[in-house]
């Protein structure tokens, strides 16, 4: 699997993502700076977490308008896998590649802890490594993870199986509607999620529940 990791000023989880992709796929991803207008020929594009542009204006708002995001949108339209984690999810929403918005956590506090996730749809390229309904552990670290969408959009997401990860066992850390932690786009090739699967892929992390996401992707895009 060939992958690319997008880099923007203020993103700080890029190194974790690069490490996870390298460990699971055996190949280091190509890093692509925000000003690039073309992307290399890859199977997977990842926008990692962090605080691009200091979360100024709205989380992900400015990053989503950088030149590289136009190239990401073009690749996504062609069916290339795109995954945004945490700030990457916020950027995908701001770029209009996924529906809805992420708002300030209902508690108004930054949350950095482990949550439980239910794999709400295991029939996607991103979640095929899990069993349907499987409950996994996953860390979260964010201030704006409170997913919101208008009722029509929400009904469509739920009806079409586009909600792929849901906070489970009462661990919703942010007030997200319907406990939504991650969604995919209509085409099934764009995933956005707040939790950080890249931070739970080996024993040294204290668990490897996030690894199956990368392994599942690898199986699809090997």
């Amino acid at each position: 699997m060939k992958s690319a990791v997008i880099q923007l000023p203020g993103l700080n989880r890029d190194r974790d993502m690069i490490a996870a992709l390298t460990k699971v796929s055996g190949k280091a991803p190509i890093t692509v700076w925000q000003t690039e207008t073309e992307l290399p020929d890859v199977d997977l594009i990842v926008i990692p977490g962090g605080f691009s542009y200091g979360d100024y204006l709205r989380c992900g708002a400015i990053g989503a308008r950088m030149p590289v995001m136009k190239a990401v949108a073009e690749k996504a339209a062609k069916g290339v896998m795109v995954m945004g984690v945490c700030n990457g999810f916020q950027i995908l929403l701001e770029a209009g590649l996924l529906p809805g918005a992420l708002m300030r956590n209902a508690s108004l506090k930054f949350v950095c802890r482990e949550v439980k996730l239910e794999v709400a749809n295991a029939n996607t390229a991103f979640t095929r490594g899990y069993a349907p309904g499987e409950i996994i552990r996953c860390p979260v670290a964010h201030h704006d993870g409170n997913y919101f969408a208008d009722p029509d959009t929400l009904a469509r997401l739920e009806g079409e199986g586009q909600v792929v990860f849901r906070y489970a066992e009462g661990t919703n850390p942010n007030g997200s509607v319907n406990d939504i932690a991650g969604i995919i786009g209509e085409g099934g090739n764009v995933l956005g999620m707040m939790p950080h699967p890249e931070n739970l892929i080996e024993a040294a992390h204290g668990g490897s529940d996030g690894r199956a996401l990368f392994e599942g992707l690898l199986g699809k895009a090997a």
Binding site: L57, P99, A101, M103, R104, N105, L108, N146, F148, G175
Partner: protein, 80 residues
């Protein structure tokens, strides 16, 4: 030169946890009878072009494309 003030607020029905916290703090300071507080953003923009119609169109596009997230926010533009 044209000066404009853009106000961006959360749409009705979108929960505003920051507004709620401010509302609670006002109550704590003894301001009774505060029905609700909604927090928003203000942008003061100066445009070099003096053409009002062009400015209105440009400001609207700025709101749609960057200043507001129209999934959750409304905006209003006042040219001063």
């Amino acid at each position: 030169m044209i000066k404009a003030r853009i106000i961006v607020t959360l749409k009705n029905g979108v929960l505003d946890p920051q507004g709620k916290a401010i509302e609670g703090a006002l109550g704590g300071l003894g301001f009774s009878g505060v029905g609700s507080v909604r927090q928003g953003k203000v942008f003061d923009v100066e445009l070099q072009d003096g053409d009002r119609a062009k400015a209105e169109a440009a400001l609207k596009e700025m709101c749609e494309r960057l200043l507001a997230n129209t999934v959750i926010e409304d905006y209003s533009i006042a040219i001063t």
